[in-house]
């Protein structure tokens, strides 16, 4: 299975491409914004595609041709300006869904934020709310597509080393989770079709990542 990783140059993306390249039956194509980001991925034996998510959908379609799954882990993040939130977290995300549909990519894994429900918008601080709105509607759009999708809602991301153990369920207590573990959760999600049509929150916990993902 070949996987297009949108946002490959982010911290989760870099872990994920490495994990995919280390896996027997998976291959990664890293979607990146700049040529100078490519060497990390080439060193891992991964393909790259240079695409600006603010550009034409056609360019994303081109990059998505021939892959079996698309992972969206790009993010302006909650700390960039709300203009980029609109262009990347909302519009960029939905463009990748359209591109997946047009390129015939059936499988789509979205890395969302921990809580994107209406209640989370209403209770968010004024500065954080636009980010939650963007993720809310990106998730909503994905649910309305015919893509075989999974929506992952990770807790507060840290740069700690992964432990290989998490708690995953429709709702879990708010908590932290290392980006390295999130990458492994994504990989297990990709290889287990039982996750199709599901969405779940994930934080650090006691279950092995494989067990946590397969028992969803």
């Amino acid at each position: 299975m070949k996987v297009l990783i949108v946002g490959a140059n982010g911290q989760i993306g870099k872990h994920l491409v490495k994990d995919i390249q280390d896996h027997d039956s998976l291959k990664a194509r890293a979607l990146i914004r700049k040529e100078e980001q490519a060497s990390y991925f080439h060193d891992l034996g991964a393909e790259t595609a240079i695409v600006d998510l603010e550009g034409e959908v056609d360019n994303i379609v081109e990059a998505a041709k021939g892959v079996d799954a698309l992972v969206f882990t790009a993010g302006s993040g909650p700390h960039t300006g709300p203009d980029k939130t609109m262009m990347i977290d909302l519009d960029g995300a939905i463009k990748t869904m359209k591109a997946a549909e047009q390129a015939g990519v059936k499988r789509y894994v979205m890395i969302s934020s921990f809580d994107t429900r209406r209640e989370a918008i209403q209770s968010a601080s004024e500065s954080f709310a636009p980010y939650v709105v963007a993720k809310h509607y990106a998730d909503e759009w994905l649910r309305g597509t015919n893509l075989n999708h999974t929506i992952i809602h990770p807790g507060k991301l840290t740069n700690d080393d992964g432990t290989g153990h998490v708690e995953a369920a429709a709702e879990v207590e708010r908590g932290e989770v290392p980006r390295q573990d999130v990458a492994r959760v994504i990989l297990e999600t990709l290889v287990h079709d039982s996750t199709i049509g599901k969405e779940f929150q994930v934080v650090s916990g006691q279950q092995s990542i494989t067990d946590a993902v397969t028992s969803l």
Copy 2:
């Protein structure tokens, strides 16, 4: 027919409430943000409802109870920050659609911007693009509802006196249009059910507003 005007305190909204109150078979309920905005509407004999579009959907549902149509002419405008664009032009708009559905309001008229197609996003300047994205997805959401909707795409708005004459069609040449004429276009849209399910661009032109709207 009673009409809830969301964004009544804006310039188009003020013209519209006046036109509605002057009309034999229409009555306005002005949705406003602050108590001190109410006197203008009360002087016209219109009802008011004080609701913050960034607040709970339930408050909008309450304000929409008992009306027959909802007009969305609120707008952070392209010149406020992109945070308000996300909260008002996208999320606020969609919340009013949900509220209309929950309150049993069947008719919904959206005042969009002149061009909200994908091409318009891609060709917009970096500062304008987030606004076009917000309006694009608000329009998209409305098309996906079961509301009896009309989407009006006015040209560049001016404060000139209305002429009572416009050009309206699915696509027209880019041009200006006085806010006063847009308000009259909305009123004619409300009273002519032939506009249900349609969307059109409108600029100043040669046709009387009634003729332009009824010949769509």
